[in-house]
């Protein structure tokens, strides 16, 4: 909820503010734009374009024949499976953590916010190493796991754990500000009218935070499908068994099977493009919502 004062002073960053001052020649503007675009071209656009050019260089035929090879299909399946497990679990955690942080004041609140960010700060290799130290043969739970004939490291469960670790903060990070902005008024009203906690969540809170949540899900999914470092440490990279698409890309490249590498890379690049487009749509929706309010 916005206060009246805020409603009257709607920030109009888009209108009128961007007019360049008269004292500054138009050439400065175009030189700066030129430098910015040149830098982005060298660092970003040419490498991005290269993925598509390399993948389709010999036409669509070889591209599709690479796509139907068995190791490749297994990699796709495994990538989807890992994301399908990691995504819902991290969503539940993210929503709980966001609610706990946004709806409560307690000593150490800022500390808890920073703690949730730790997985972003840690190198993916170190994240993978931690999981090996816990569940590996010489790890804390290693003897117990072996006694019960359970395999986590060099198997899918370890890769799921690694993915969950590196994507842990996204949902909470995106939902917290939305939840804070939405305020508690509507929830309190629902409670007063006799709604249960669950009803309040489904009917009031969830619709309020849906764009933030969706944004968090998009980012979690992109990282879950694209994660390389952490998954690589725990996977053992057994072709056809514990190889996700990003691992397939590296493996094919190292074995000088560059066309295969680019066939998989272009799929992942498509995933990235879809992520960016969805993100843009979500941002536009929230902006429109802001204006409407």
């Amino acid at each position: 909820m916005r206060t009246d004062a805020e409603l009257f002073n709607t920030p109009d960053a888009s209108s009128g503010r961007r007019v360049a001052p008269r004292s500054q020649g138009a050439w400065v503007k175009w030189v700066l734009i030129g430098i910015a675009v040149l830098y982005l071209t060298l660092i970003l656009f040419i490498p991005a374009l290269n993925v598509f050019v390399q993948a389709f260089r010999n036409g669509l035929g070889p591209f599709f024949s690479n796509l139907v090879s068995q190791p490749f299909l297994n990699a796709v399946k495994l990538t989807l499976l890992i994301a399908a497990i990691a995504l819902p679990i991290n969503t539940i955690f993210g929503l709980c953590a966001a609610w706990a942080i946004a709806r409560h004041q307690f000593p150490g609140r800022t500390l808890l916010l920073s703690i949730i960010d730790i997985p972003f700060a840690i190198s993916p290799v170190v994240a993978g190493l931690m999981i090996v130290l816990l569940y590996g043969r010489n790890g804390w739970f290693g003897p117990w796991l072996q006694a019960n004939d359970l395999r986590i490291i060099f198997a899918v469960p370890g890769m799921v754990l690694a993915t969950m670790f590196v994507t842990m903060p996204f949902v909470a990070r995106e939902v917290i500000p939305v939840l804070e902005e939405a305020g508690t008024d509507q929830e309190e009203a629902a409670k007063t009218l006799g709604a249960s906690n669950w009803q309040t969540f489904w009917r009031v809170t969830l619709p309020n935070i849906r764009w933030g949540l969706l944004y968090g899900l998009i980012l979690t999914n992109a990282r879950a499908m694209g994660e390389f470092g952490a998954v690589s440490v725990v996977s053992g990279n057994i072709i056809g068994k514990t190889q996700t698409l990003p691992l397939y890309v590296e493996e094919a490249y190292k074995q000088y099977k560059t066309p295969e590498a680019y066939s998989a890379a272009v799929l992942l690049a498509f995933l990235a493009v879809i992520t960016l487009v969805l993100k843009e749509i979500v941002e536009r929706k929230t902006r429109i919502k802001d204006v409407e309010e």
Binding site: I33, A36, I46, S123, V125, L133, A269, L271, L276, K279
Partner: protein, 286 residues
Amino acid sequence: MTASPTNPRPVKGDRSFWYRLTHLSWPWRVTWVYLSFMLFLPVTAMLLSASTVGPAEFWRIATTDIALSTYSVTFGTSLAAALLNGVFGTLIAWVFVRYEFPGKRMIDAAVDLPFALPTSVAGLTLATVYSNNGWIGSFFEPFGIKIAFTRLGVFVAMVFISLPFVVRTLQPVLQEMEKEVEEAAWCLGASSWQTFWRVLLPPLIPAILTGVALGFSRAVGEYGSTVIVAGNVPFQDLIAPVLVFQRLEQYDYAGATVIGTVLLLISLLMLLVINLLQAWGRRYAD
């Protein structure tokens, strides 16, 4: 956000700490259980494994010649990449906020590409583009400059991976900045340069530094793109995360744990620095 005065919930101040701990609502329980299991447990396991090595042995492994060289490559290159992005990221954010030009929206959206593109794909394409016969690498080849599979390649990958941080940290701050202050400076006869250095830059510095620190922290930990674009030659372009990976592949758990712990502690330190910078930025904004 200050919710405490507006929060109409009854304050449970009279309950003891223990009572509150045992009567947590279930979202709190999920949060704590998940954090304990997924975050505290692994970090503790790592720190305890490192401590079993013993301080003298820890120091010996952490400061072997090869480890020291990987730190210098990792931190030197990350810092250079983050600083370069500090300069160009500021310029890009400025251009996006202040100017209109065709294709701006698309270019703006594309800045997030390094967040969305899987790192192994980034490494693959950077290795191709910046190799001796690649689109960009071939321009440098006649001058005897090799980029891919050298330290320069690592640098390019780190620049790629840390680019969005400065831009995205700076954009909202620039958007908020009052145009009036700037115009006042012009009215008082300041030149464009003077206005930039004396009026515009100082309030942006906390945000620029936060972006640089975020980019640096990401570049230090980066593995996927750098392992592919680097030659991974010890003492030349071998970075610390790759060394951890190699130690683990050789079943040298002590070595992997010690160097991993050094990286972990530096990550946590960076997180602290970033938090302090953000607090500084908030104070500046008020």
